[in-house]
Point group: C2
Chain length 554, copies 2
C-alpha cells in the first residue's frame, strides 16, 4: 500500500449543499472511481449562465488513476456534465441501458460519439478495477433503469443509493430489497444516501396512483388532452400511452427532449407504444378532439418549451381551443413557480381546463420521504453515514433520521463538496479539503466566466450603462471630439434629453479643467468622468448605471 | 342623471390577474371613489425595477370627479402606491387608525405630510360623497384594523370585502358577521371578493394556533430565540410579546419596517408591550441567552433584510451562536423560496436550530380558503359577482365557488384591469376598456422606464456588452484612432485576449474598406461593426453580447 495514511477516501465533487451537479468519488490507493457526472441549472443571480458543472481539477490532476465513471441513472443532474467532463478525461463510462441511451444523445450533439468508451451494465454486472469491485442494485425512481452502487474495497463496502424511493406498486420493476438487505448483512462500512425529501414526513406515493388520475381524466374528457411532464419520466409517459390506448386516442409528441425520449424509450423497449398510435403534430386536425392527446415538454413553464409556446400562442402548429384539457403532471421546482403560474393563466385565458401538480394527483415525487430513508438505513445498517444529494437543511434532517435509526451521531458526516472522509482500519476521519467548486458554462465557453463577469452583468442588469467617449489631441492636449454619451438600459433617452445634455456639459467642463492643467494620466481622466457623473445621475434618478469612460488620443 | 347610459361603473386599475397593486374604482355619474392604492413587487424579468404601481391615467383625467381614496388595510399591496398617487392627485384619504398610521410613515419618507388630507374612520363611520355613501365592516386578516367597504349607490350596494379570512378565535377583534349578514339582507348588487386562496380547500387556520406553537418553542428553548416574520403581522408580534412575558425574555427589534411597526403599534395601542421588555440590540449580550428574543425582518430571505444579514454574518451587532433557535414565521411567496432556503442553510451552518413555515405551525395565511369564500358569498348573496385580488386561475376558481353557492354563471365577471362593469337599472354589462396598466419605478423615476430599457437590461444581463470606439478624421476620412474594444460582462479579458485582438483586426479591416470607398453614412459604418463582430463572437463563444459602436469625427 503506497499511501499508508489514507487508503480509502470518499468525497463529493458536487451534490452536497445543493440539488444538482452530482459527482461522488471513491478512491482507494492508486484507484479512483467516479459515480455520476451531473449538471445544475443556474441560480437566479447567475445572469446569462446556461449550466453549472462540477470543478473536476482533482480528476484531471489524477487522471492516470481514474478507472471509471459509473452512472446511477439518466437524469440531467447525474449525467448532464458528461460531455464537458469527457472532453477533458479519457475514462470508460459504465451505466444501464436507458442511462447510456440518454447519455449518447448528448455525445452525438457534442460530436463525441467516436471518442467515448461506453460499457453497458445490468444490475447483475460486477466490475473490477484493481482492488475495487463494483456491483449494482435496482432502485425505484422517476426514470427506469435506476440503480444504486456498491463499491467493495479492502476497507469495507461503500454504498451509494442513487436517487431512490420505495414504490411497492411500481410501473416498472420493483426495487431489489433482497440485494439491499444482503449488503446490510455483509456489513456496509459507509452509506451515501439521497436526501432530497428528508424534510418530508411519511412515504412518497406510488407512481401508479398518477396512472389512475390520468385514466380518470381520459374517461371524463371529450376534448383534446394536452399532457406536459418531465420528458425523462418514462413511467408516466407509458401510463399516458396506456390511457390513450384504452380511450382510443392518438398521441402527438412535441418538444425536442420529449421526442428524444419517445424515440429512445421505444427503441430500447422502455416505452410500449401500440402500432399506429403516434401521429405527427401536423396531423392532429384530421382527428376529432376526443381522439387526440398531445404530449409535450414545458411542465416547468420554461420560456422556450412547447407548452409555454402553446400557451403564449406562438407555437407554429398547436393552438388552444375551448374544451381542451391541459394536464401539467409536475410540481414546480422553487424558482419556477411563477413561470408555471403564468403558463396556467395563459392556458386558462385561452379557454383550456387546466389541472396540475401533486394536489390534483398528477405528480408524485421520485424521491423517498422520511419513512423510506429510514427503511434504507435499516436495510443497510451502515457504520458510517454521509447524507448526499441535498441542500444543507436536507442533509441535516437526514442526519437526524439516521440517528433515530441507530447510526452513531459521531459516525455521521455532513460534508461540503471536496471534503473527504478517510477510512483507516475501519476508522473514519475528515481529510484535507480537495479542489472543488463550480464551473459556469455560457455558450461554448467553459471557465471563461467568473465573479467579475457576473458582477458586471448584475450591475448592467440593474441600472444599465452609460458610455462616455472623448477624443483628445495628442499635440495640443485638448478635447477635439465629444464627450459623447451613449446609454442603454438606463432611461428612455427621449424623455431624459435634458439630463443627458447637462451630464455632457458637466463632463466637458471637468475634463477641460484637467487638460488645461495638462493632466495626462488616463486613469485620472477616467476617474474624473465617473466622479462627476455618478453623483449627478444618482441625484437625478436614484440609480447607479455603470459608467464606462473611453478616452482616445489622436 | 347626466350620463344615462352608465350611471354606475365598477372596475379595477390593479389587482386583477395578479397579486398586488390593488386599486378598485366605483364610479357613479359625476362621482368617483377609489378603494386602495397598492404596489406590486417586480417580476423576475423586470430587471432593476424597485416597484410597480397602477397606471392612474384615468384618475388623473377625471380628477375633478374624484371624491376619495378609501383604504381597506395597511398592507403594501393596498397602500404602497399612495405616495406616488397622491403626488398626482389631490384627493382626501380615508382609512382606519392603523392603516393611516402605516401610510403616514410613507408620507413622511416622501415629504408629503403637509400635502395629504387624511381622515380617520372606524367601522361605525359613514361617509357621504354626493349620491354615494360608504360604510365599513370589520374583517379578519393578518393585520389589525382591516375592513371591508360597502358603497351605497342609487343602483344598489357594491361591496368590496378587502382581504379577509374568518378567524373565530382571532388574536384581535372578531369579524362583524352580523353587519355582513345585514348587507346581504338589504341586498347586495355586486360583490368584489378576495381570491388569494380560492385554490385552497377547507378553512384557513386561526392565527391563535401560531401563538400556541410560539409558546411551545419558548417553553423548550434555553438559548436565544430569533423570530422573523412579516413586520405588519401585529397579531403575531403580540403573541411573541406575550410568550416573552410568560418566559421572562427581553425583546430586541431589528429591521427598519419592524422597528416602525413596533413604534406605531405601541403608540396606537395595537401592541401591548410590558414596560422594560424592549431592549436595544446592543444590549443583548448583557442578558443570558435564555432571556433574549430578537424580532426581525427577513422572513422572505430578502437580500438586505436583518435575518439575511445575520445569516451571512454581515450584521453589525448580531451573530449566530450554536444553541440559537431561529423561527421563520412565514411562508415563502413564489420566487422567494430559494432565497429563504439559502438563508435557512446559512443559519444552520452557523449552528442554529431553524424552524419555519406553515408545516411547523409558525405561519397561517391571512386569506380565507374555499369554505370561507363560500361563507362570504352566502352572507352577501350578491346578484353580481366579481372575483378580485388574484391571478387568473384564482379568479376562475373563485367563479366556480360562487356558482356552487348559487350565483348565476352569467352574473359572474372575470375581468382584466381597466375593464368596467356598467350597471343600468340593475342590469350589468361589460363596458369599453379604460386606460390601465403598470408603471415601473426604478429609483426616483416614474414612467421613464419601459420595454426598450428593460429589453436592453435583459440583453446586457445575459451576455454583457462590447463597446467599439473608432475615431475618423473628417478631412482624410480615415481611421486615426482605434478601433478600441471595451467589454463588460462578456468574458474574462485576460483569458480572451487573442479573440479580442482578432476581433479588433476584423473591425479595422472592414471599416478601412468602407472609408477607402469613401462611405460616410454613419449608420452604415456602425452596422458594419455589428455585422462583423456578431457572427465572429457567436462562433467563438456561442454568446451574443450587445455591441455598441461609437464612431467619432475629428
Amino acid at each position: 500500500m503506497k499511501n499508508k495514511k489514507s487508503p480509502l477516501k470518499v468525497f463529493a465533487l458536487g451534490g452536497l449543499g445543493e440539488i444538482g451537479k452530482n459527482m461522488y468519488v471513491v478512491e482507494y490507493g492508486e484507484d479512483l472511481i467516479v459515480i455520476d457526472s451531473g449538471l445544475k441549472f443556474p441560480e437566479e443571480d447567475m445572469l446569462g449562465i446556461d449550466l453549472v458543472i462540477p470543478d473536476i481539477t482533482y480528476l484531471v490532476e489524477n487522471k492516470d488513476r481514474l478507472r471509471a465513471i459509473v452512472l446511477t441513472h439518466g437524469h440531467e443532474d447525474h449525467i448532464g456534465a458528461l460531455p464537458f467532463v469527457l472532453k477533458e478525461l479519457d475514462v470508460p463510462l459504465y451505466g444501464t441501458k436507458l442511462t447510456l441511451g440518454l447519455a449518447k444523445v448528448k455525445f452525438q450533439e457534442h460530436g463525441l460519439m467516436n471518442k467515448v468508451q461506453i460499457h453497458e451494465v445490468t444490475e447483475e454486472s460486477t466490475l473490477q478495477f484493481g482492488p475495487l469491485s463494483v456491483s449494482f442494485f435496482r432502485v425505484n425512481h422517476s426514470i427506469p433503469d435506476a440503480v444504486g452502487v456498491a463499491v467493495y474495497t479492502p476497507e469495507g463496502i461503500v454504498v451509494h443509493t442513487g436517487d431512490f424511493k420505495f414504490d411497492y406498486t411500481p410501473v416498472g420493476e420493483k426495487a431489489d430489497l433482497g440485494k439491499m438487505a444482503a449488503l446490510g448483512e455483509k456489513g456496509v462500512l459507509c452509506l451515501l444516501s439521497d436526501s432530497t425529501n428528508a424534510e418530508r414526513p411519511g412515504h412518497t406515493l406510488s407512481e401508479r396512483t398518477v396512472g389512475e388520475t390520468i385514466r380518470d381524466v381520459f374517461h371524463k374528457s371529450d376534448g383534446r388532452i394536452i399532457f406536459a411532464t418531465f420528458a425523462s419520466n418514462v413511467y408516466r409517459l407509458q401510463q399516458v400511452i396506456e390511457a390513450a390506448d384504452i380511450y382510443g386516442r392518438k398521441i402527438a409528441v412535441i418538444g425536442r427532449s420529449m421526442e428524444n425520449v419517445f424515440r429512445i424509450g421505444a427503441e430500447l423497449g422502455y416505452l410500449n407504444i401500440p402500432k399506429g398510435m403516434l401521429i405527427d403534430v401536423n396531423e392532429i386536425d384530421r382527428y376529432s378532439a376526443d381522439r387526440v392527446v398531445i404530449v409535450c415538454t414545458g411542465s416547468q413553464g420554461e420560456p422556450m418549451a412547447a407548452l409555454t409556446r402553446i400557451a403564449t400562442g406562438s407555437h407554429r402548429s398547436v393552438k388552444i381551443y375551448p374544451g381542451d384539457t391541459v394536464i401539467i403532471a409536475a410540481q414546480p421546482i422553487p424558482g419556477n413557480a411563477r413561470f408555471v403560474g403564468r403558463t396556467i393563466d395563459l392556458l386558462m385565458r385561452a379557454g383550456a381546463e387546466v389541472v396540475f401538480g401533486s394536489v390534483s394527483g398528477f405528480h408524485v415525487s421520485g424521491h423517498g420521504s422520511q419513512e423510506e430513508l429510514k427503511l434504507m438505513l435499516n436495510l443497510m445498517k451502515p457504520k458510517y453515514f454521509i447524507p448526499i444529494h441535498g441542500e444543507y437543511r436536507m442533509l441535516m434532517m437526514h442526519k437526524k433520521l439516521a440517528e433515530a435509526t441507530g447510526v452513531e451521531s459521531r459516525n455521521i458526516f455532513i460534508l461540503d463538496n471536496g471534503e473527504p472522509i478517510e477510512f483507516v482500519d475501519g476508522v473514519a476521519s475528515k481529510g484535507a479539503k480537495l479542489p472543488s467548486g463550480m464551473v459556469l458554462i455560457d455558450g461554448k465557453g467553459v471557465g471563461d466566466i467568473g465573479n467579475i463577469v457576473l458582477r458586471d452583468r448584475r450591475k448592467l442588469s440593474e441600472d444599465g450603462l452609460i458610455v462616455v467617449v472623448v477624443t483628445i489631441s495628442k499635440d495640443q492636449w485638448k478635447i477635439v471630439s465629444g464627450p459623447d454619451l451613449v446609454t442603454r438600459g438606463f432611461v428612455y433617452v427621449r424623455e431624459s434629453e435634458e439630463m443627458l445634455n447637462e451630464a455632457t456639459r458637466l463632463v466637458q467642463q471637468s475634463l477641460h479643467r484637467l487638460t488645461e492643467r495638462n493632466v495626462k494620466e488616463w486613469s485620472q481622466l477616467k476617474s474624473k468622468v465617473i466622479d462627476v457623473l455618478e453623483p449627478y445621475f444618482y441625484e437625478k434618478t436614484q440609480r447607479k448605471p455603470m459608467i464606462l469612460p473611453v478616452i482616445m488620443e489622436v
